[in-house]
């Protein structure tokens, strides 16, 4: 939210300035404004806060632009003459524009100007100040965000501006936001009790954490305390209900991550019976492929960045899949019928892959960015859903069903089932079992690579990435019942949701311990997992 906030400003700046002229008729003290801006680079943050406050009160039409530049870190002081400039990105570097005269001063060398520093508190102030100055913006989005930043400040000084804006507002959503902002501000004034009660009602209707935060300080107010307390308890009640939904959502999301990590293993381990200790490292390879793709895009074609994951996904399948096939052809092939020795050999492979990545990419975390469509969050009622988690859930389900389709419907799936169920018979029928083994292993590995693409969005991309998922993956596959994709599905979501419902009242550590104990006990009850084949088939 806050990130996007800055963006829509500039296009509407001109209109904004005009609007300001209307709102603030006292715009005559321009001499003060210039002096104040010159004073900005000097003194402590506290001094700067006073200057900002004063600037926002000058009503000068240039104030919004200067303050905005300060907020975005583009307001600099020239080192040679101390002139205050606004830096604007242009082709071949930054261009300086005089903050007061608007004169274009041409390109600037890096290091010839010094940024005027802000801190959290100043940025908060700036946002409120800019918000108050842009409540009448012709752009709906700008007004909405302005109303929200004024809401966050709760400063009674803005009431006048809010009233003016409310009177002129025609959009319902913006009007609500303005009314809410006004309600917060009213609570801090000496307004009549009736008006305050109305404000409480407005906030109670809003009903979210921000409303709670605004109301909480007034819970012991002698005049409206009762209403506030009642509103607060109502909001809390509603939020408790929402919290359950929220936890289920978290569980689904954790489940999707677990499933992605485990689904490849459900094939190599569950279907083929190969204890592949290098599975985690194949996931890691997928994540590093994503990193490499993004790195290439950053260098060559930054405009492609939003597509980086879509480009990385097939490449990750290719990279992890071919490493998987190489492992199968080079090592695992010689060890069929000796499952425990595959454990030893693939453990060796995992050590080598880890160290190889460490040598090539360095031991540190590498940065994998979120494309814009995976950043931020949206709200459903009082529940926050982050885009990245939602996409990962969708992605996980897509991978799962695609895989199911491949195994059930494709010719390759048919051959694969034939080989795993009756190898000699399959060979008799002319199936190249070696090729099918390699492809099956490659498929499992490729899916691990896909998981890596998704995990790179929410976790560290480091050589340790694989190790942190391998144990959980085995738990999921075994809990669900090896050899059954639906088992992995149910295992992942079952464990994910249970874990997340436990976490709020046990804490993360104890929650995880309880999960493990639960798995141990569950296996006693169903020694072959949740989706075990029963009856005679199980003995085969």
């Amino acid at each position: 939210m806050k990130i996007v906030l800055c963006l829509p400003f500039r296009p509407y700046l001109a209109a904004l300035l005009m609007a300001l002229l209307v709102v603030l008729p006292a715009a005559g003290r321009t001499a003060g404004f210039e002096e104040l801006v010159e004073r900005l680079p000097h003194g402590s943050y506290a001094d700067r806060a006073k200057v900002i406050d004063a600037i926002s009160r000058t009503g000068d039409p240039r104030a919004a632009e200067v303050l905005n530049a300060l907020l975005e870190g583009r307001l600099h002081a020239r080192k040679d003459d101390g002139r205050i400039v606004i830096l604007v990105d242009s082709a071949g570097g930054a261009t300086a524009i005089d903050a007061l005269s608007g004169e274009n001063l041409g390109g600037v060398l890096a290091g010839s100007t010094e940024k005027i520093k802000t801190n959290n508190r100043l940025r908060g102030m700036l946002r409120t100040a800019i918000g108050a100055l842009s409540l009448m913006s012709p752009d709906r989005e700008t007004r909405l965000m302005a109303a929200q930043s004024v809401f966050a400040s709760g400063d009674p000084a803005n009431i006048e501006a809010l009233d003016a804006a409310l009177a002129a507002e025609s959009d319902r959503q913006v009007a609500t936001a303005l009314a809410e902002a006004r309600a917060v501000a009213i609570l801090d004034t000496d307004a009549p009790v009736e008006e305050k009660r109305a404000a409480v009602a407005i906030l109670r209707a809003r009903g979210d954490a921000a409303a709670q935060a605004a109301l909480a300080p007034h819970a012991s107010d002698p005049a409206i305390g009762n209403e506030v307390r009642e509103a607060l308890s109502r909001i809390e009640q509603a939020q408790r209900v929402w919290a359950i939904a929220q936890n289920v959502w978290y569980g689904l999301s954790l489940g999707s991550v677990l499933m992605l990590a485990a689904i490849g293993l459900a094939i190599t381990f569950g279907v083929m019976g190969v204890i592949n200790m290098a599975h985690g490292e194949l996931v890691m390879l997928g994540a590093y492929t994503t990193f490499a793709v993004q790195e290439a895009i950053r260098g060559a074609a930054p405009w492609l960045f939003d597509w980086s994951l879509l480009i990385a996904a097939p490449l990750a399948v290719l990279v992890a899949g071919s490493v998987g096939i190489a492992i199968e052809r080079g090592i695992v092939r010689h060890l069929y019928g000796r499952p425990l020795e595959t454990l030893l050999a693939t453990w060796g492979v995992s050590l080598i892959l880890q160290q190889a990545v460490r040598t090539i990419f360095g031991p540190n975390n590498r940065e994998v960015g979120n494309p814009s469509w995976m950043s931020g969050a949206f709200e459903i009622g009082q529940m926050t859903v982050t885009w990245s988690r939602l996409w990962i859930l969708i992605f996980a389900l897509a991978v799962f069903f695609a895989l199911l389709l491949v195994l059930r419907r494709s010719f390759f799936g048919l051959q694969m089932r034939a080989v795993t169920q009756n190898r000699p018979m399959a060979a008799e029928m002319g199936i190249d079992t070696g090729r099918i083994d390699a492809l099956t292993f490659g498929l499992g590995a490729g899916i691990a690579g896909l998981a890596g693409v998704a995990l790179s969005q929410i976790d560290n991309v480091s050589p340790n990435l694989g190790q942190s998922y391998i144990v959980d993956s085995f738990m999921v596959v075994v809990f669900g019942g090896a050899g059954n994709l639906w088992g992995a599905f149910a295992g992942a979501f079952g464990l994910g949701i249970t874990n997340k419902l436990l976490e709020p009242w046990t804490g993360a550590v104890l929650g995880k311990i309880l999960m493990l104990v639960f798995i141990i006990l569950f296996i006693q009850k169903r020694p072959r997992g949740l989706f075990a084949l029963r009856g005679r088939a199980a003995e085969a």
């Binding site: 050590l351 080598i352 160290q355 144990v471 090896a482 493990l516 141990i520 296996i523």
Partner: protein
């Protein structure tokens, strides 16, 4: 008794004996420190690992129970010993508290938790070294074997067990020192832990424990009960239809093995000077499996040898090739599985047999 010590075992025990006598002598000041003194503790540590590997081989090699959680029993034994060593510090901690260990003092614990009581006595600690892992193995095994959990399912829940214990011991509320574990030990049975004589004593104790562990394992596996274990490993269903209560046998051998692992842990801790929850990590337990597989599963001696070789390789390679040693170790694991299916011991014996056959052929050639 003769059946207990076959040729293989004899050679190994003799080698172990020579090592036990020669190493402390060679490192003593009297011998002009032919080898550095730290080798005593280092090799002592290897011996503990070897005992741990023997314990795992007893259940995996002879009864087919692939435990991916044996590190937990080792660590529990280590913690029991560590708690004794902590209590031995007494009022010599930095805060001077007569009872509470330092980590409890600065985290404001008011009194010693109940499960720390009794650990100021050596006999109690020594008992717990075997009883704590043994009891865990008994309870865990009682549930798991009765429910006929087997194969990978058993392996994975043993892994879940050690993972859960690791997380639990990381928690500072547990009262085991959290991530830092137990450390800063001063003496054992009144003897200074840093003294060369104490070190030698611990080293000899480890060697004796290893020999004892080997003998016990050998005694069990060579007995008529050992045949039942092998039968369970090769054909569990068959054994059950012969009228054997498979779960009792599994439980017995699992518990014995856990207690043995506990002893290994207890001897390990005073020699390395620290015990912390990292010992519970699933990766550590997998490493134990790897020692056994590399040395030769189901041979006992091979397991000990495997532990010795892998940890020695780790010591040497981390100093010699600090940046590349994982490649070397990983490659070693792959090559052993591909080319030495019987493990190192198997390879040595095949080599010897071929050598002998070759030699006798040569003799014949010469004769004719």
């Amino acid at each position: 008794m003769a059946r207990l010590i076959d040729r293989r075992m004899g050679v190994f025990l003799a080698g172990l004996f020579i090592l036990t006598v020669a190493l402390p002598m060679a490192s003593s000041a009297a011998a002009g420190q032919l080898v550095p003194a730290y080798l005593v503790s280092l090799v002592g540590k290897y011996l503990c690992y070897a005992l741990l590997a023997v314990a795992l081989d007893l259940v995996w090699g002879f009864c087919g129970i692939l435990s991916l959680g044996h590190g937990a029993f080792f660590a529990l034994g280590g913690y029991a010993m560590g708690m004794y060593l902590m209590r031995q510090i007494g009022p010599r901690g930095v805060y001077g508290d007569p009872v509470l260990p330092d980590f409890m003092v600065f985290l404001n614990w008011q009194e010693l938790p109940w499960f720390w009581l009794g650990f100021d006595r050596f006999w109690f600690a020594a008992l717990m070294v075997m009883a704590a892992p043994g009891l865990l193995a008994f309870v865990f095994g009682w549930f798991a074997f009765r429910s006929r959990v087997s194969g990978v399912y058993l392996s994975i829940i043993t892994q879940a067990m050690t993972y859960a214990l690791m997380l639990a011991f990381f928690r500072n509320e547990m009262g085991f020192g959290g991530n830092n574990g137990l450390t800063d030990f001063k003496d054992i049975l009144g003897l200074d832990l840093t003294a060369a004589s104490t070190r030698t004593g611990l080293f000899v104790a480890s060697a004796v424990a290893l020999a004892g562990g080997l003998m016990i394992a050998r005694w069990i596996t060579a007995s008529r009960l050992g045949r039942v274990l092998v039968a369970i490993r090769d054909a569990e269903e068959r054994t059950r239809f012969l009228g054997y209560r498979v779960e009792h046998y599994k439980l017995f051998v699992f518990t014995v093995s856990a207690a043995m692992a506990g002893v290994a842990g207890a001897l390990y801790v005073p020699q390395v000077g620290i015990i912390n929850p990292g010992e519970f990590s699933p990766a550590n337990s997998i490493e134990i499996v790897i020692w056994v597989a590399l040395g030769g599963r189901g041979t006992l001696i091979g397991a000990a040898l495997g532990a010795f070789l892998v940890t020695l390789a780790k010591t040497v390679l981390t100093g010699w090739l600090p940046e590349l040693w994982l490649f070397a170790l990983g490659g070693l694991f792959i090559m052993v599985t591909l080319w030495l299916p019987g493990g190192v011991l198997g390879a040595i014996e095949t080599g010897l047999t071929r050598l002998r056959a070759f030699a006798s052929m040569r003799t014949k050639e010469i004769e004719t």
